[in-house]
């Protein structure tokens, strides 16, 4: 029998970023026994890197804002393939979730009358992002962490879940190994909430940390849940491009929210050159109006730098491809220029964007108060994920919930900046609440020792491999190159078909990758185990992207560069077939109820 330490919880939450922590707090408040498992130390999850802010229609800065405007902005940004119910719940509940953080000790920047200040961001019609300089994610995770540690939640740090356990169709728990000694843990739970974040490590140029390896996506898929919208990958337009070691590191959209402009090597503000039709009415057509918008002039329309991320990223790629890029293959992002309009602009920039100032100064020898930055697209966020019920966040597997980035629906084909932190809060809370309710109404499932033994065998198998010279780091590196080149920002059928073949070969190499040393805190071993997840989500992205023969949001096909109305009425669904092969299909997007359709119509 497999040696392991056993734990029992009503609700087990996997992942301790914003969504996982918020879910744990809610489930705990509902009075059930909660376990929280995280791959890193508590408080270090990827949420900590979120910079710009939390989108919520508080209407503190512009009283024309409301949940209806936020809802319509989110749907427009997502190209109308969002789960409209999630977009509705999100817009309605985000303000309460932000105020709740304040009641738990968060200190957002203030308006002159002492309320929570809100800033401009891409795709949001009014200033909507509650923020703390450019370290909002840190404020959020610390607030949730410091509130959560007093609620009696059992936290299992540096512990990685390797497989979900089922009792018949329903969830029964999870199998994990702890990093320090490589010992096994089996968590028996009535409900399991996945809150594992994204998949960015499948790409070479990424803003994501080592943890973002698609764990929740893959755990759910392997347990029989469906993934949806996996073709929609967000490439954030502004990552650092130089020096090479920081390539991909995020440069917050807040830079553009504070008035930063994008320039090509001719010094031209190229974002004015191409404004999509459905944003023409909302977008400034001259530089002077754009600046007035950033200064809070309510009669002005927003500058084109604040168009949605998918569009801005593609415009940057075009400039670079056509030879108008910066020396290191990006374009210029300039905030220093505001000195033309603002006295003490250097102090102003340091105050509003302290982390960006620090990051460029320290890592790139650039003083952003005086010089332009060089930026280019970086893989940042996946809109696709576990298919869940909008209200409860439960997947198709009874007792298995998902929230945050690893769940899909709210963002459609493209996420608006700031909607992720609010998504974590709104749907983290909902997942925690409904997982607790589900747990109360059910008995604990049985742990099947055969399943435990099977996962344990998979986890230990790499130690038994013959000497092949193959390493997990090499396979991961080649996978990242492949996805970047063949399933990246600009896609086509031939490249992606080639990628599927290459993924097959990488899978074979992954099965040969050797592990050195023992089970004690061994990154080589951990990376070997992560490969299965990265390869699974990569295949899901490639297959979904091949099936969608149109361009929409974060999915751009050079062989089908236009939007297609028929394709816009379906979502792509991925599931594991009975034979273990990936099955892919399309399902119709439910029709929006008339009252929501009316809101969208009214908002123009």
């Amino acid at each position: 029998m497999t040696q392991y330490q056993a734990f029992e919880h009503d609700v087990l939450i996997i992942g301790a970023g914003g969504a996982g922590l918020r879910a744990a707090i809610e489930a705990s408040a509902a009075g059930v026994k909660v376990g929280l498992v995280c791959k890193s130390l508590l408080g270090k999850a990827h949420t900590v890197m979120a910079e710009g802010g939390i989108a919520a229609a508080l209407a503190n800065v512009d009283d024309r804002d409301s949940w209806k405007v936020h809802f319509s902005d989110t749907m427009r940004g997502g190209q109308y393939v969002n789960n409209w119910r999630m977009a509705e719940l999100h817009a309605k509940e985000a303000p309460d979730r932000v105020r709740e953080l304040e009641a738990w000790g968060a200190l957002f920047d203030r308006t002159s009358d002492g309320r929570i200040l809100q800033r401009n961001f891409g795709g949001h019609r009014y200033p909507r992002l509650a923020h703390v300089g450019d370290r909002t994610g840190l404020e959020m995770i610390r607030t949730l962490q410091d509130h959560g540690i007093h609620l009696g939640i059992d936290v299992h740090m540096e512990c990685t879940v390797a497989g979900l356990l089922k009792d018949g169709d329903r969830i029964a728990g999870a199998f994990a190994y702890e990093r320090e000694r490589g010992y096994f843990r089996v968590f028996r739970a009535k409900a399991v909430v996945l809150a594992t974040g994204g998949i960015g490590r499948a790409y070479k140029i990424t803003s994501n940390s080592w943890e973002c390896t698609g764990d929740g996506h893959t755990l759910a898929y392997d347990a029989g849940a469906e993934l949806i919208d996996m073709e929609y990958m967000q490439f954030h337009p502004t990552g650092m491009v130089w020096p090479p070691s920081v390539r991909g590191l995020l440069v917050t959209e807040g830079v553009r929210g504070e008035g930063g402009i994008l320039l090509n090597n001719d010094g031209r503000r190229f974002m004015f050159d191409e404004i999509p039709d459905n944003y023409k009415a909302q977008t400034a057509d001259n530089e002077e109006e754009g600046w007035r918008y950033c200064q809070g002039d309510k009669s002005a329309r927003r500058p084109p730098e604040l168009l949605t991320r998918d569009h801005v990223a593609r415009c940057i790629v075009k400039e670079v491809r056509e030879g108008r890029g910066s020396p290191h293959g990006g374009v210029f992002l300039d905030i220093a220029w505001i000195k033309k309009h603002i006295k003490n602009s250097e102090e102003h920039i340091k105050k509003k964007l302290p982390s960006m100032y620090h990051q460029f100064k320290k890592l790139g020898d650039i003083d952003i108060t005086r010089q332009p930055m060089e930026v280019g697209p970086t893989s940042h966020y996946i809109m696709g994920g576990v298919r869940v019920d909008a209200d409860t966040q439960m997947s198709g597997v009874p007792g298995l919930f998902a929230c945050g980035e690893c769940a899909a629906g709210i963002n459609g084909a493209n996420r608006l900046g700031g909607n992720s932190l609010s998504d974590l809060l709104v749907f983290g809370k909902r997942a925690g609440e409904h997982a607790a309710a589900y747990a109360r109404g059910t008995k604990t499932g049985a742990i099947d020792e055969a399943q435990v033994a099977a996962v344990a065998k998979q986890v230990l198998e790499p130690f038994e491999r013959e000497a092949t010279g193959e390493t997990a780091f090499a396979v991961q590196h080649d996978l990242q190159d492949l996805m970047q080149a063949k399933v990246g920002i600009v896609r086509n059928e031939a490249d992606m078909a080639e990628a599927l073949g290459a993924l097959q070969r990488l899978n074979e190499r992954a099965r040969r990758a050797q592990v050195e040393g023992n089970r004690d805190y061994n990154p080589g071993w951990h990376t070997t185990l992560d490969l299965h997840n990265l390869l699974t989500v990569s295949e899901a992205i490639a297959r979904s992207a091949i099936l969608r023969k149109e361009s929409r949001g974060g999915h751009f096909r050079e062989d089908f560069p236009k939007k297609d109305d028929a394709a816009g009425k379906v979502s792509t669904v991925v599931r594991k077939g009975a034979d273990g092969a990936m099955e892919i299909s399309q399902v119709p997007i439910p029709e929006m109820p008339p009252e929501l359709a009316l809101i969208i119509k009214e908002m123009g």
């Binding site: 130390l41 890197m49 320090e180 940390s209 982390s355």
Partner: protein
């Protein structure tokens, strides 16, 4: 590409040794890049914590050439490469393996600090009003990324091992953030003197010097907390009052 040698501590709680690894150095590299490169090339089981690689999560704390640093923010261009670069784990906490240490003490300490307790909302909309200038000091403290470099360099913890009597600079900053929060109504002054051991800090300011977030730990957080303790416990009039009327205050 030029090569440089990195002298990395390999071992665990039972002991260990420095081992030399040579790897190529390219433009813009930071120490953490070198560690990752070595991991991929020749030491796949080299244990190191990291997450964001952007100075925001505080995971990759280590001692580089004897100085407490975030490895992700230490450029190789700022380190002499004509001699081996030593990289070793932080010293105030027990080693786990290689560059990873057991920092769980910090998590236990944090739990002992009384949590945030806001006053009742007093604005008409059921929330609060706070002026920006009233929260700036606390926002400075809340920049903390919990890298524990301040704990590492604090001699009360590092050299005198008073982990049972002293919460260290990180958590004094944490208490200060709570105590100076405009909405907080809790009182932590007695704990500061007793359980938290604020008196053990003798203001050498080593913590302030190593803080990667440039928090003015000693001047802005610890000294004001010491003053609060002094005001309450060492003010002669209050002392007399306590003698006559009893009670801690």
């Amino acid at each position: 590409m030029p090569k440089a040698t990195f002298r990395i501590w390999r071992g665990d709680a039972r002991g260990g040794e420095f081992r030399d690894y040579a790897t190529e150095v390219s433009e813009g590299m930071v120490v953490l890049d070198a560690v990752h490169q070595i991991q991929a090339e020749s030491a796949s089981d080299l244990a190191v914590r990291w997450n964001c690689k952007a100075g925001k999560c505080g995971s990759c704390s280590a001692e580089v050439n004897g100085m407490p640093k975030l490895m992700c923010m230490t450029r190789l261009s700022d380190v002499p490469l004509d001699q081996p670069v030593t990289i070793e784990p932080i010293k105030a906490f027990p080693p786990v393996k290689d560059l990873v240490t057991d920092v769980s003490w910090n998590y236990r300490v944090k739990k002992t600090i009384k949590k945030f307790k806001p006053r009742k909302p007093d604005a008409a909309d059921g929330t609060w009003r706070m002026a920006q200038h009233d929260i700036e000091r606390v926002q400075e403290f809340r920049k903390c990324i919990e890298c524990y470099l301040c704990q590492d360099v604090c001699h009360v913890l590092r050299d005198h091992h008073k982990h049972d009597e002293f919460i260290g600079p990180r958590f004094l900053v944490y208490v200060a953030a709570l105590e100076m929060h405009p909405l907080d109504t809790e009182d932590r002054v007695d704990e500061l003197k007793q359980a938290h051991g604020v008196g053990l800090c003798n203001i050498t300011k080593c913590c302030t010097k190593v803080c990667p977030e440039d928090i003015t730990i000693t001047d802005n957080a610890i000294i004001p907390l010491k003053e609060r303790v002094v005001d309450r416990h060492y003010d002669p009039l209050r002392w007399l009052g306590r003698k006559i009327f009893g009670g801690a205050r």
